[in-house]
């Protein structure tokens, strides 16, 4: 068993007494690609925001690399690379300037910084566009640069919050390949999405979230076993997901119509 990279214990977030994340507990080991799957509004992004200390939990505990995030977050910040759902890059800066800026925030300087910028841009296939202004980039290029800005400081834990929203299949495929490559190089990955095929393609373990709770957790095979006793079943992850979370439209379910 590898080192525990992330441990959540009874993690809860309430807004006006409504729990958007409800007593979540899980452990993620070093070297995993952990998928957090759930419909819109399931609480995936809120959970990731709490893991990154961007949102204060109402209750529960987050432990990163053995440190309590509430008290020792500073010690583990440089080990985390967070790729938010929204683009977090300056349109009026060049590609290399963006990567340089966000990598420098982790105290990397001089030649080491220059090398890190080049490596990050090469990793996402944007080295030849390093002098281009981001405002002129396509959606897929911006998404790739968004990733480059989070990996310059070589984090051990990469948190992707729906990184493929609104991009073309080629860019999506490229990003998924790069996530697998980063994992092979030693990074632990947490990947949140509501795209089943993406999770199925890259994740070694999956947690399915619905209404703020984890309804199932395990490998794809383990999840299938949870919903059918047929050992020869070739259920897809989507079928498992729908079985576990129901087919009701989320806005109907939440709106009470």
């Amino acid at each position: 068993m590898g080192e525990i990279v992330l441990e959540l214990e009874g993690l809860t977030k309430k807004y006006e007494n409504k729990a958007v994340v409800d007593h979540i507990s899980l452990k993620i080991e070093e070297g995993e690609i952990f998928g957090l799957l759930g419909p819109n509004g399931a609480g995936k992004s809120t959970t990731m925001n709490m893991v990154c200390s961007l949102v204060k939990p109402t209750a529960g505990k987050v432990e990163l690399f053995g440190y309590d995030a509430k008290t020792d977050m500073k010690k583990v910040k440089s080990k985390i690379g967070y790729i938010p759902q929204e683009l977090a890059i300056h349109g009026n800066l060049k590609a290399w300037e963006n990567v340089e800026l966000f990598t420098s925030l982790y105290g990397i300087k001089g030649d080491e910084l220059k090398k890190a910028v080049t490596e990050a841009l090469e990793f996402v296939g944007l080295e030849d566009k390093r002098n281009g202004f981001v405002k002129n980039f396509s959606g897929g290029m911006k998404r790739r640069l968004n990733i480059a800005c989070a990996i310059g400081h070589k984090p051990k834990l990469l948190i992707f919050d729906e990184p493929t929203v609104g991009i073309d299949p080629q860019s999506r495929n490229f990003i998924l390949e790069k996530i697998k490559a980063a994992n092979k190089e030693g990074a632990t990955v947490i990947y949140t999405s509501h795209y089943m095929e993406e999770i199925e393609a890259i994740c070694t373990r999956i947690a399915i979230m619905d209404n703020g709770k984890i309804v199932a957790i395990g490998t794809k095979e383990e999840l299938v076993e949870m919903v059918t006793s047929d050992k020869n079943s070739n259920m897809t992850l989507e079928e498992v997901f729908l079985t576990l979370t129901g087919k009701k439209l989320r806005d109907y379910a939440e709106g009470g119509m």
Binding site: S53, P84, E86, N92, E97, L105, Y106
Partner: protein, 370 residues
């Protein structure tokens, strides 16, 4: 010091074309418009051209020998002192042959003035009062010495009085005045440069990325304050150079003015940081900032000259722009200013107070993080 953050934020600020235009071209246009619009007002209000004072001396007046001295003193004060032996004072004034007329008798003088030449009459009165006070004093002293046998009574031509030039504050031309004032005024608007960074950060999830990094709140603050001050200073300098080259504006004590401009740039940036964090909305912050600067400018001499303000002095004294405007204009006209100390004190106070408030408010902005 987060140099890379400062460098990249500065790039964002300087790459914003509309901010560059606002900060470099608009001041020059404003200077041209206002200096022309208020040229006549400035001239009639403050400038006294050389003028002529007519005089008539009574026969046998004791002052007859002193008239050449009086003429010299008048000349030093840009006044032509011209004798009219047989002319009527009222007629001379009505014809505007002379601005003021003086009837000098044996032991007194009478000044005739018209309603539209009160300033010239006041200047004449001041010169004559000083002259005759000294002359009488000298004559009394000599008479006393003669009475006591100390000296023989000398002739009145030996009476000497000090040659004094009236101490008045030199007045700038309208081009110099507005040329200086509007470089200062627009430097205060430099906080607008912050919008290039803050809008870009808020439009995307950059603040999330900042908060998850190692960067401290102080670095985050400095990373915006310093580039904003540098951008404001550079843009103000461009406007400054353009206005000096095109409009021939005269600044005095150039290094002191540069120092004041650096302080203004820092103060404007610190003030802007407070507003941007207070309102959380770039447009509202800019509008609020411009309104406050406009009011400070109205009280401090940006729209009518501080020398001729219709606003009560107590209110004028509240505006930091009053001290800054006055200091820099007096550097131009006199080469020094008694207001320089207060100007620097005001600016440093703004930087310190807004700086502390800005950092404390930065705490509030990041309060959601655990």
């Amino acid at each position: 010091m987060p140099f890379i953050l400062i460098k990249n934020n500065l790039k964002l600020m300087l790459r914003s074309k509309w901010i560059l235009v606002l900060m470099t071209i608009l001041p020059v246009i404003t200077i041209v418009l206002l200096s022309n619009a208020f040229k006549d007002m400035m001239d009639t209000a403050y400038k006294i051209e050389p003028f002529e004072v007519g005089y008539h001396l009574s026969a046998g007046s004791a002052y007859i020998d002193m008239i050449p001295q009086l003429k010299t003193i008048c000349k030093d004060n840009n006044v032509i002192f011209q004798e009219y032996k047989n002319e009527d004072a009222t007629a001379l004034l009505k014809r505007e042959t002379v601005a003021v007329f003086v009837e000098i008798t044996d032991d007194s003088y009478v000044i005739y003035q018209s309603d539209d030449k009160k300033t010239e009459a006041a200047v004449t009165e001041s010169i004559l009062a000083t002259f005759f006070y000294q002359a009488n004093d000298a004559m009394v002293g000599m008479a006393y010495q003669a009475q006591n046998g100390l000296v023989e009574l000398p002739s009145t031509s030996s009476v000497k009085v000090n040659h004094e030039v009236l101490a008045t504050d030199p007045v700038p031309s309208s081009t110099d005045y507005y040329g200086i004032i509007y470089i200062i005024y627009f430097a205060w608007c430099g906080m607008i440069s912050l919008s290039a960074v803050i809008t870009s950060e808020r439009k995307s999830a950059i603040s999330k990325r900042m908060r998850i990094s190692h960067m401290s709140k102080f670095s985050y603050y400095i990373g915006k304050l310093i580039p904003c001050a540098i951008a404001t200073f550079l843009e103000s300098c461009i406007a400054w150079i353009i206005s000096v080259v095109l409009l021939d504006i005269h600044w005095g004590k150039i290094w002191a003015c540069i120092g004041i401009m650096i302080l203004i740039s820092l103060a404007a940036s610190a003030f802007g940081m407070v507003l941007f964090q207070l309102f959380k909305n770039a447009a509202v912050s800019i509008v609020a900032g411009f309104i406050i600067i406009w009011i400070a400018g109205l009280w401090g001499g940006s729209f009518q000259t501080y020398i001729y303000a219709n606003i009560p002095q107590r209110i004028v004294n509240i505006s930091p722009l009053y001290y800054i405007n006055r200091t820099v204009v007096e550097f131009s006209t006199k080469g020094y200013s008694d207001y320089a100390g207060r100007c620097i004190l005001y600016l440093v106070s703004i930087i310190v107070i807004c700086g502390i408030a800005g950092i404390l408010m930065m705490d509030r902005e990041m309060g959601e993080s655990a």
